[in-house]
């Protein structure tokens, strides 16, 4: 892959954040290229989720810059970051539990509707057209994530594995350029993890987006990621291809100890 002559979709420069006196992340530099599956790994407490929170602007970084397709994200809030094209899932699943599965996905499409409340109240042609299109799109997404049969079920009643998949489907409904997955395989059995990997690849191939994922399942990371960034104590420890990372002595030391 000739990554070097392509423009990165996400570029992070000297990113850092302090919580009071504690520096959680410092001097982080990383690049994510289009249509690439990137892994962000590191021991517990390394600051991986904090990085996600900064990328989605849930946290405002203390230092450094984030560029999405060359655009500076400094002044954006989480809503605008989503509109700019960053979608995410959460380590502890955050679905809209009292809404139906398909409504969860349609909620992800919130910013792709072009009708107003009057159209909604009077059920105008525009409302019906757009709702019909949204319904079709949402069902297509559910199809990709093997959730079609659950479309009308309340999201809170879904089994755990399906909830994880629904969260990714909802994120994809925002039509992102970059998808952030926070421990997508957490709590899954080997077979479910296998299915998930296939699904992540399918999402990348189908939607042509970049994916950055945090994961503790090393088998998954090594199999699926084309590039890996390793964090330790909030600092960049290593980066490279899975082969490079696996043979990197610093990484082995950080994970296993001396």
């Amino acid at each position: 892959m000739a990554e070097e002559n392509r423009k990165p979709i996400l570029e992070v420069q000297d990113l850092g954040i302090d919580f009071g006196g504690l520096t959680a992340v410092n001097n982080l530099n990383m690049k994510v290229y289009p249509e690439q599956i990137d892994g962000l790994i590191g021991p517990n407490g390394a600051g991986k989720t904090t990085v996600f929170n900064m990328l989605t602007k849930v946290y405002q970084p203390t230092r450094g810059k984030i560029f999405l397709e060359g655009k500076d994200l400094e002044k954006l809030n989480p809503v605008e970051a989503s509109q700019a094209g960053i979608a995410r899932t959460f380590q502890n699943i955050r679905l809209f539990y009292n809404m139906s599965v398909i409504d969860n996905v349609k909620t992800g499409m919130h910013n792709h509707f072009h009708y107003n409340n009057f159209d909604a109240i009077f059920r105008t042609g525009r409302f019906r057209r757009e709702e019909k299109r949204a319904d079709q799109d949402a069902r297509e997404l559910l199809e990709i994530f093997h959730l079609s049969e659950y479309a009308d079920l309340t999201a809170g009643n879904l089994p755990y594995g399906q909830q994880r998949r629904l969260e990714i489907a909802r994120a994809m409904a925002t039509q992102p350029k970059l998808l952030l997955l926070d421990e997508p395989a957490a709590g899954m059995n080997p077979q479910e993890t296998e299915e998930l990997m296939a699904m992540i690849r399918e999402v990348r191939d189908h939607f042509k987006i970049a994916i950055l994922l945090i994961e503790h399942d090393m088998q998954l990371v090594m199999q699926i990621c084309e590039h890996i960034t390793v964090l330790n104590y909030g600092m960049l420890l290593a980066e490279g291809t899975p082969q490079e990372i696996q043979s990197n002595p610093d990484v082995i030391k950080a994970y296993i100890g001396d």
Binding site: A87, L95, A120, I121, E131, D152, T154, R170, A171
Partner: protein, 353 residues
């Protein structure tokens, strides 16, 4: 355990219920079966239903506790009195037209004030938000309680001090402070109330099943997740708040036009709580339940009147029992099983959403 989501079926059930109730009650009232006591409740029931549907938008759909719904009702009611007074003074007396204009004005004024209120209120969350809405409700009622307003050929005269209003001979007082509205030409009817209930239901259901309705519920279920899919939580909660307030105003306008005189103290904290009880008892987010609960709880005190001084005691006991029964998982499960058994034995059980 797989429970089907059924918003479309819910709305059909609500519409049918309202239409059926209207037809039955109209016939009974026409045939003189209701008696004066219950006939006089027809319009107030509609008012309370509209106010409760509005409040359910805020409490059930948006998930924010609002203790000021009576304040918005009073705003609608007194707006209606002023508008009706002005219209009557200028010779417009057709009840249907006056009522229509009054309800529209009441809705707009209450909706606008709801929007103004939402700016400071929605900076808060949970209990604090509830306390502030309570305060706002009290402020509105207490201000109106001190308003003197009259109309003559020079226009409206307004004062916070009694007797300071100097009017021409043809002048007429519309609001006299603690006495409240006086000399209102009533214009409300059961038909109007029915139509208002139906319109509020349509508005609420149509918003619920639209882009913003989903966003409102998403913010209720998980605000952080909602913001990461690009939903502005404050804007969505404002929408719910304004719809709630506007429907409160519409309900108030209908209420105001139903009595020839009423005082602002009618819309006190107790009324806010009462409407909240209708909503909670009917089920958060459940409009059909709200309609049933409101109807039953408005009628219940009248039915219990024979108990004289024990009336409110029994009313409270009945309320507690209903709350326990409808919220008890075991009893709910039993009822559900009972219903399923009936269905299986092919007897066609009655169900409600």
């Amino acid at each position: 355990m797989k429970e089907k989501f059924k918003s479309n079926r819910n709305s059909t059930v609500s519409y049918s219920l309202v239409i059926a109730l209207f037809i039955i009650l109209s016939i009974m009232s026409g045939a003189g079966l209701l008696g004066r006591k219950y006939s006089s409740l027809l319009v107030p029931v509609c008012c309370y239903i509209v106010a409760a549907i509005g409040l359910n938008m805020n409490v059930g759909i948006s998930g924010e506790l609002n203790l000021g719904q009576a304040g918005f009702m009073s705003l609608g009611a007194f707006t209606a009195v002023i508008v009706a007074g002005a219209l009557n003074f200028h010779g417009v007396t057709a009840p249907a037209l006056v009522l229509l204009i009054c309800i529209v004005c009441g809705t707009l004024i209450a909706g606008f004030l709801g929007w103004l209120m939402s700016i400071p209120v929605l900076k808060l969350e949970g209990d604090y938000l509830a306390i502030v809405t309570l305060a706002f409700g009290q402020i509105i009622v207490n201000i109106i309680n001190n308003v003197y307003l009259g109309i003559d050929e020079n226009g409206l005269h307004f004062s916070f001090v009694n007797n300071s209003i100097q009017m021409q001979e043809d002048g007429k007082m519309l609001i006299s402070g603690p006495m409240g509205a006086t000399g209102v030409n009533t214009a409300s009817s059961f038909l109007a109330g029915f139509l208002l209930v139906l319109i509020s239901l349509i508005v609420v259901y149509h918003i619920m099943n639209s882009r913003n309705g989903r966003a409102i519920m998403a913010c209720r279920d998980n605000r952080i997740a909602a913001s990461t899919v690009g939903i502005n939580a404050v804007a969505e909660k404002t929408l719910a708040f304004v719809i709630s307030a506007a429907l409160g105003g519409a309900a108030g306008a209908l209420y105001g036009m139903n009595y020839s005189s009423f005082a602002a103290t009618k819309f006190d904290f107790n009324l806010s709580i009462l409407i909240l009880v209708y909503v909670v008892l009917g089920g958060l987010g459940n409009m059909t339940g709200t309609i049933i609960a409101t109807t039953l709880l408005v009628v219940l005190p009248e039915v219990l009147r024979f108990l004289s001084i024990y009336r409110m005691l029994i009313y409270a006991v009945v309320l507690i029992v209903i709350m326990i029964v409808t919220n008890n998982q075991t009893i709910r499960l039993r009822l559900k099983n009972l219903r399923q058994n009936k269905k299986e034995s092919g007897k066609g059980a009655k169900t409600n959403g």
